[in-house]
């Protein structure tokens, strides 16, 4: 199988922030060597674990974020370990790291030192970037959602409720997305110039521009947003759009199309459920009136709420969609395994996991595209699984030399 990153060697210094970026490089065909501490990447210890047994080789979050990578456990705090990393960087195409700014420079592994490999793309994904007054502040994923503005726009219409930062490490995802842009653009540029470069991506910068209309709304109108339950934040309070179904689920029920064909089908559906109310009044025959009533009034909105309350979620979703109405049903992630559509699109990749004695279906990735070939190509490595191979094969070390490093605790 080909892949857009085929032929590249990536050295990834293990961290929870950057591992998803490394995963997509690996999924795209790059050889990604994750250099981990002797005790394992912090990504191995967060859980959830298979059978909830803490074990660095059974962490499911690690499995997901490290598909197809190789693991070399090296203690870079020791000079001998540092030297190994330096040797690896001398041959690499990409170095992906997330240490606090200044850390690697102090170890003699900053960009200036590594740039003797003129090919090297040195990619630093950090909380606040390489400079600025908050450079040394500490953060985790949710802290970024707070500072970046995601939380200020997410939560509940009840003003007493807390803003919410959604689960799943999405600040890190946002930072990784931009880092991948940068790495890929630098690869294009390198084809012409033969030279790598340094890439500085701040997760805070990335999040700060990721709040849709909130920033332009402030810049141009001086207004800020109200949080609204399950829907867009808005400078004005709006009626609810996340509506309960008969079977205890929620529909996201935005109406954008008030044309006649859609309207007639919607009314027929409401008639079936006996919830049409006054919408048979002739004034609703006028599309402009419908649109304006929906925008400013409650009659159409209330009828839609009654319709959804009288229908099951799946019925609502498919029937609305068959009428070209873009309603969505709030699914649980795991419920997508039951959806035929994704199977038809060849979305699942079966990855063997010897430790639990079976294969697991993994999501393919965002793109259906054979030429890019971005999809999981194998399970995540066990801790130190490839240390021997990397030292012997990549660095040409003898078995004795490797044993000596093991004995002195430089590698595992």
């Amino acid at each position: 199988m080909t892949g857009v990153y085929e032929g590249l060697t990536v050295i990834e210094l293990a961290d929870r922030r950057n591992q998803w970026a490394g995963k997509l490089l690996s999924d795209g065909g790059a050889r990604v060597i994750q250099v981990e501490p002797i005790a394992g990447s912090p990504g191995r210890w967060c859980g959830p674990f298979a059978d909830d047994k803490p074990d660095p080789d059974l962490c499911i979050d690690y499995w997901w974020n490290n598909t197809g990578k190789q693991s070399a456990a090296v203690d870079v705090a020791q000079p001998a370990g540092r030297d190994l990393l330096k040797q690896l960087l001398a041959k690499a195409d990409v170095f992906l790291e997330s240490t606090p700014p200044g850390t690697l420079a102090n170890l003699g592994l900053g960009y200036d030192a590594a740039a003797s490999n003129r090919n090297l793309i040195y990619a630093s994904l950090t909380d606040f970037g390489q400079d600025g007054p908050w450079r040394d502040y500490v953060a985790n994923d949710v802290a970024h959602l707070a500072l970046g503005g995601q939380m200020a726009s997410s939560g509940y219409s009840d003003p007493k409720e807390t803003p919410i930062g959604g689960k799943g490490h999405h600040a890190w995802h946002m930072g990784c997305a931009f880092m991948l842009h940068g790495i890929t653009a630098a690869l294009i540029e390198r084809m012409g110039s033969g030279e790598g470069q340094f890439i500085d991506v701040s997760i805070h910068d990335a999040c700060a521009i990721g709040t849709e209309a909130a920033v332009p709304q402030w810049m141009y109108y001086g207004s800020t947003m109200y949080r609204q339950t399950g829907m867009h934040a808005n400078p004005k309070r709006q009626p609810p759009l996340q509506l309960p179904t008969a079977d205890g689920k929620y529909m996201i029920a935005v109406m954008q199309n008030f044309g006649r064909p859609v309207w007639e089908k919607l009314i027929k559906w409401m008639d079936e459920k006996g919830v049409t109310g006054e919408l048979h009044d002739p004034k609703y025959q006028d599309e402009a009136f419908r649109m304006s009533e929906y925008r400013t009034g409650n009659v159409i909105r209330d009828a839609i709420a009654r319709l959804i309350a009288a229908s099951d979620g799946e019925e609502c979703f498919h029937r609305a969609q068959s009428y070209n109405i873009s309603w969505g049903l709030v699914h649980a992630a795991e419920e997508n395994y039951d959806v035929a559509h994704y199977r038809q699109r060849d979305y699942w990749r079966s990855i063997e996991h010897p430790r639990i004695g079976r294969a697991i279906p993994y999501p393919r990735g965002p793109f259906a595209c054979d030429a890019l070939g971005i999809e999981p190509r194998g399970r995540a490595p066990n801790l130190g699984e490839h240390t021997q191979h990397v030292l012997a094969h990549d660095l040409g070390m003898s078995a004795d030399a490797i044993m000596a490093l093991r004995t002195s605790g430089v590698v595992r």
Binding site: M219, V254, A368
Partner: protein, 455 residues
């Protein structure tokens, strides 16, 4: 209007993109390429315009916006809590007409704009000629639209074998749901993202910044850069069928695998856990109310987390409650997680009368994770880090009568910087350049097309 060369510096200088996207998610993906110097030609239907130029939301519609008041970026780092009135003196007295709504200006900066009637045979002929001159084609229509123009992938590939074609859609261009319609929140709901945000026992809180309209575009933009890399390596174009929902599911892999391995569902009573941490379980890890309210009368909040014992000990010191760390209920992380409701109340009592940025500074000074829940005003006006990194640059646009603030593209490349190139285009601003210079049409041809409503 602009008839001069539109060449711009950057890694993708010389790359030309034909952009049929509209709304939000598609335009984001092509905008990213402009920062690298690509020439992105945004096509709007003749006689109409992109929704975001005149967004129907009343708060957005106006051709007399307030002038951006961030000019000069001289605001000091102070808590606006006790200083809520804005410095109106900074506002220019003149109010220039804006050529596009703010969000359009944000989503389309750096692009060219043409108008074209793709429903006419002549219009389609022009589309085909442009495809022959472009490196990439992007659209976020429903699956049936481009084939209905005769532009199947086979046809596109035949016209231009090096073309990278990326379609952005809610559910992809194959499968039972290929005709289903979606916008960001639809995809967030279906993927499982919405359900991963909220308080236990309450309805989903969702993603009020429409995460997938934003991140969906960033991932789509990534696929375009990847496609261009692959085309440059192989000389062959490719078709990228990007489903925003599948992209979202690709960020939920941990939950899916947890279900496969442990049978644990995200649809369960104690999930989502609000702002608390489950994997790993940590306490404290939550939002806490601070003094004051924003201009919409919503309370101000700070997020505080301790991931290490040292951080918790430091927090007890900052709160001047050193005894807490000796209390068996809070002495270890495990104990704190068990008793986190009580711990959250103690921390909340401490933060409630205090100013949010003061708390953040004090905590960060001793290495505690503390983060103000910042809204757009906070970020644009008061965040010293974003000011230092010039995340909201101001660009002069004398030809449309104003200077506007933009969101920076947050990738800093040392040798080949990616930048905000210029403002968004006015409607059909580049018809002359594209039809006259690129396609070499005569003045008479162009006028004739215009009279017949083709452009």
């Amino acid at each position: 209007m602009n008839t001069t060369s539109t060449a711009r510096p950057g890694v993708l200088s010389g790359v030309r993109v034909l952009d049929f996207t509209w709304k939000t998610v598609g335009p984001w993906s092509t905008r990213l390429l402009t920062h690298y110097g690509a020439e992105v030609i945004h096509v709007e239907r003749a006689g109409g315009w992109d929704d975001h130029r005149y967004n129907a939301t009343p708060s957005i519609v106006t051709d007399e916006p307030k002038v951006a008041q961030t000019l000069g970026m001289k605001k000091v780092y102070s808590d606006p809590q006790f200083n809520t009135h804005r410095d109106e003196s900074a506002a220019a007295t003149e109010r220039p007409k804006l050529y596009a709504a703010p969000y359009f200006n944000t989503l389309h900066n750096g692009k060219l704009a043409i108008s074209l009637n793709t429903k006419s045979p002549e219009g389609l002929k022009i589309v085909e000629r442009l495809i022959g001159m472009c490196d990439a084609l992007v659209e976020n229509f429903s699956a049936e639209v481009l084939p209905s123009w005769g532009l199947t992938w086979e046809r596109l590939h035949a016209i231009n074998p090096r073309l990278v074609y990326m379609s952005t859609s809610g559910f992809g261009h194959t499968g039972d749901w290929k005709t289903y319609r979606s916008y960001g929140p639809t995809a967030a709901a279906q993927s499982g993202l919405s359900l991963a945000s909220g308080l236990p026992g309450k309805p989903p809180a969702g993603w009020g910044f429409s995460y997938l309209d934003v991140m969906g575009g960033w991932i789509g933009g990534l696929s375009l850069i990847q496609g261009l890399l692959q085309a440059k390596k192989t000389g062959e174009g490719c078709y990228i069928d990007y489903s925003v929902t599948e992209g979202a599911m690709s960020m939920l892999g941990t939950y899916m695998l947890d279900y496969q391995v442990n049978g644990r569902r995200t649809r369960r009573p104690d999930f989502p856990p609000g702002n608390r941490a489950v994997f790993p379980a940590l306490a404290p890890h939550n939002t806490y109310r601070c003094a004051g309210r924003d201009r919409n009368d919503q309370d101000w909040w700070i997020f505080i987390a301790c991931e290490t014992q040292e951080q918790f000990e430091a927090l007890c010191s900052v709160m001047e409650q050193p005894g807490l760390v000796l209390d068996t209920k809070f002495a270890t992380n495990e104990a704190r997680v068990t008793n986190q409701a009580e711990l959250d109340q103690i921390i909340s009592n401490w933060t409630r009368p205090r100013r949010r940025y003061d708390i953040m500074r004090k905590c960060q000074a001793v290495g505690i994770i503390a983060a103000v829940v910042q809204n757009a005003e906070d970020r644009v006006e008061y965040d010293p880090q974003l000011q230092h990194r010039e995340v909201f640059p101001v660009i002069e646009n004398p030809e449309v009568g104003g200077a506007f603030s933009y969101e920076r593209y947050p990738v800093r490349l040392s040798r080949t910087p990616a930048t905000v190139q210029t403002r968004a285009p006015v409607l059909a601003e580049h018809n002359q350049y594209v039809f006259g210079e690129l396609l070499q049409m005569s003045e008479a041809e162009i006028n004739s097309l215009r009279e017949r409503g083709v452009i």
